[in-house]
């Protein structure tokens, strides 16, 4: 009998299953565990048990959530913040875990740096105490976010207990039009699925439009999987993936790389593999998109008008729309393009890679922003590359501030916050109430759309601004 056709999700799962209990819980082997300042609760549990880190060689630390983007020499905006960075340094040193620390040339955001360093590879099982760990799926890794108790468990055992997820395939056909990016694609997928639509599922992204995306763009797409409720999103590795990985510092080299590629070629889902759910989207029909509300599912094309709760039948949904309009200070049926913007943020694990910076700079070049903005590259190496390409000058000449790398204004932990009541066009991943600071109002957009908003002071269709320019 021929073997049952398998999805990439099942193939990686099976390769890491140590044992399965009768109740279906499976103990999985972990190839990489990434830790950051927020992992201190996990390290605390290890200390409370007087335990050791089982595999420091498979554990990598990075300072990102609390690091200052300006005045790095301060080592943090307050004593409490500095303490978070100190704790990470102490915990990693104590357990002999390598750390990309505040002063390292390779420092940056965990979901940017680990792929950049060649630590994230196809077929690996990767965890991190951060829900955007789904990002690493862009390289064909099975990667998901975990909580502090699970962090502690992985530190002590290099394993994790999991239930098999259901499998969802999100197929995107066609070609994204010019000016429409992976961020717009992801926002459309989330709006289509709903913010809890993929809960309990692992998503495989497939189809021509996904294959056409660069690795950086796939990272943006996979990054946002959790905003549809899915703990992980994955794209089957292909020639682009292998080319991205080859030569990176911690990736296999030479003959070992060739052998790895042979293994990676076996990963894509088998032709007849069965998914529990199939969703289809048409890339060609998508336009630049932004969120207007307080859930990532509340996203609309830039040419649309806001919903009116009076028109919505589902009472829970109508109530959500009413509450979001009120918090955001917006009116039903107003045009998306009439929403004014007080500032922009270009950064975060979603959109801070070199391509993102290039896309924003292409819109801003030779133009002047009418609102303030912060640009925080995804890693210090990306910052360096952008400066070699002269992108920093474009941002600064446009009037935006060009700073160091970290999670920054996506989550405001380091003190980079949006003032109460202010409205920010942000390339980050969450428009939750208060996410960017108490009372802050967030509109999620692509880097190009953030640049367009900076130029006009309102949500703006970037496409006319790209006319005659190389995107």
């Amino acid at each position: 009998m021929a073997a049952r056709p398998l999805t990439i999700i099942e193939k990686i799962w099976n390769a890491h299953a140590i044992l399965e209990r009768e109740d279906g819980d499976t103990l999985l082997w972990i190839d990489r565990h990434y830790v950051h300042e927020g992992s201190n609760h996990g390290f605390g549990q290890v200390a409370a048990r007087k335990a050791e880190v089982a595999r420091p060689d498979l554990t990598f630390g990075i300072a990102d959530h609390y690091v200052p983007t300006r005045q790095r020499e301060s080592r943090g905006a307050s004593a409490e913040i500095r303490n978070m960075i100190d704790l990470l340094e102490q915990n990693t040193a104590r357990h002999r875990v390598s750390l990309f620390g505040l002063d390292d040339a390779q420092q940056g955001i965990v979901h940017v740096v680990m792929p950049e360093q060649g630590l994230t590879l196809p077929g690996l099982l990767i965890v991190c105490g951060d829900s955007h760990t789904s990002t690493h799926g862009a390289l064909g890794a099975y990667a998901f976010g975990i909580g502090a108790s699970e962090v502690a468990h992985v530190l002590m055992t290099q394993t994790i207990w999991q239930k098999r997820p259901k499998k969802m395939r999100v197929s995107v056909s066609g070609q994204l039009p010019e000016g429409v990016s992976a961020k717009d694609l992801a926002l459309n997928v989330i709006a289509g699925l709903g913010s809890g639509g993929a809960t309990g599922h692992a998503i495989e992204y497939a189809g021509d439009a996904v294959r056409a995306l660069s690795i950086e763009a796939r990272m943006t797409l996979c990054n946002l999987s959790i905003e549809a409720g899915s703990r992980l999103g994955i794209v089957a590795p292909d020639e682009k993936t292998f080319a991205y990985i080859e030569g990176r510092p911690h990736a296999p080299h030479g003959e070992l790389f060739e052998r790895a590629v042979e293994e990676w070629r076996k990963l894509p889902s088998d032709e007849d593999a069965v998914f529990n759910a199939e969703m289809a989207f048409d890339a060609a029909a998508m336009t630049p998109t932004a969120t207007w509300g307080t859930s990532p599912e509340q996203a609309l094309p830039i040419g649309a008008r806001l919903p009116d709760p009076a028109d919505i039948e589902d009472e829970t949904k109508a109530q959500g729309v009413r509450a979001a309009l009120e918090y955001m200070g917006l009116r039903p049926k107003m045009a998306m393009s009439d929403i004014s913007i007080d500032r922009v943020f270009i950064g975060s694990c979603t959109n801070s890679r070199i391509e993102d910076l290039r896309a924003a700079a292409a819109v801003l070049a030779g133009r002047r922003a009418v609102v303030p903005g912060l640009v925080s590259p995804g890693s210090m190496l990306i910052k360096q590359q952008a400066e070699q390409e002269g992108l920093d000058k474009v941002f600064v000449e446009a009037g935006l501030s060009w700073e160091a790398s970290g999670c920054s204004m996506c989550v405001g932990m380091n003190g980079d916050i949006v003032e109460p009541g202010q409205r920010c066009a942000s390339t980050s991943n969450r428009n939750f109430k208060g996410r960017q600071g108490p009372g802050a109002r967030t509109h999620l957009v692509s880097p190009a759309m953030a640049a367009a908003a900076a130029l006009t002071g309102r949500l703006t269709d970037v496409r006319p601004l790209l006319a005659g320019r190389k995107p």
Binding site: R21, S131, I146, T199, T316, F432, P438
Partner: protein, 204 residues
């Protein structure tokens, strides 16, 4: 971990969908050590207090629910960030059961590890509980994990919880102890896996 069998106490109605973990505990509180007074004081803080720290008109500030042991909400409770401090905030406040039609995956998994039961009910049952006069009066609601039932006065509904999680909660099992019982199998797996997949080890 303390076993979870039954629970009886007031249930705080939060008739909202998509209460994300940023709402349950704001990032700005997470740099404070939990050992200093617990995280219960930060639970749903921006719902409870305005910019000046004045109490808002919000269920948890209502004397009927201020000592709640249970929270009832609408769909997708605990979506978003993986922050386990969201569960610490509930547990430290005294809430050890959340009733909702669905939960964020990571939140639910974190709950189990802290003895907090995420009880999944149908949308209709969530609405019935949220509108129940018994619940609204702040009278005790009874949750029975073995039976998977919730009783609020004359209203009785059943709830779902994955059986693996049910066993963990009822027995108070600790993951790390459970895993250590398999130390031999883990070591054997690691040896075989790493010899067959040398490429998977990070290059130093």
């Amino acid at each position: 971990m303390k076993p979870f069998r039954t629970l009886e106490g007031a249930a705080c109605p939060l008739p909202l969908a998509n209460i994300d973990t940023d709402q349950i505990i704001s990032a700005r509180f997470m740099k404070r050590p939990r050992s200093e007074g617990g995280y219960g004081q930060y639970l749903l803080y921006d719902f409870r207090f305005d910019e000046d720290g004045k109490a808002r008109d919000f269920a948890l500030n209502d004397p009927r629910y201020s000592n709640a042991r249970i929270v009832i909400a609408k769909r997708n409770f605990g979506c978003g960030s993986s922050r386990e401090p969201a569960v610490y905030a509930l547990a430290d406040y005294g809430v050890t059961c959340v009733i909702a039609p669905s939960f964020g995956d990571i939140f639910a998994s974190n709950s189990i590890r802290n003895g907090v039961l995420p009880a999944a009910v149908s949308e209709a049952d969530a609405d019935a509980l949220l509108q129940s006069a018994h619940v609204l009066a702040g009278l005790p609601v009874r949750v029975d994990l073995a039976q998977q039932t919730i009783v609020a006065g004359n209203l009785s509904v059943s709830f779902d919880v994955p059986m693996q999680w049910k066993a963990r909660l009822i027995n108070g099992w600790d993951d790390v102890d459970m895993t250590r019982a398999h130390a031999g199998e883990i070591a054997a797996f690691a040896t075989k896996y790493e010899s067959e997949n040398t490429w998977a080890l990070p290059k130093r």
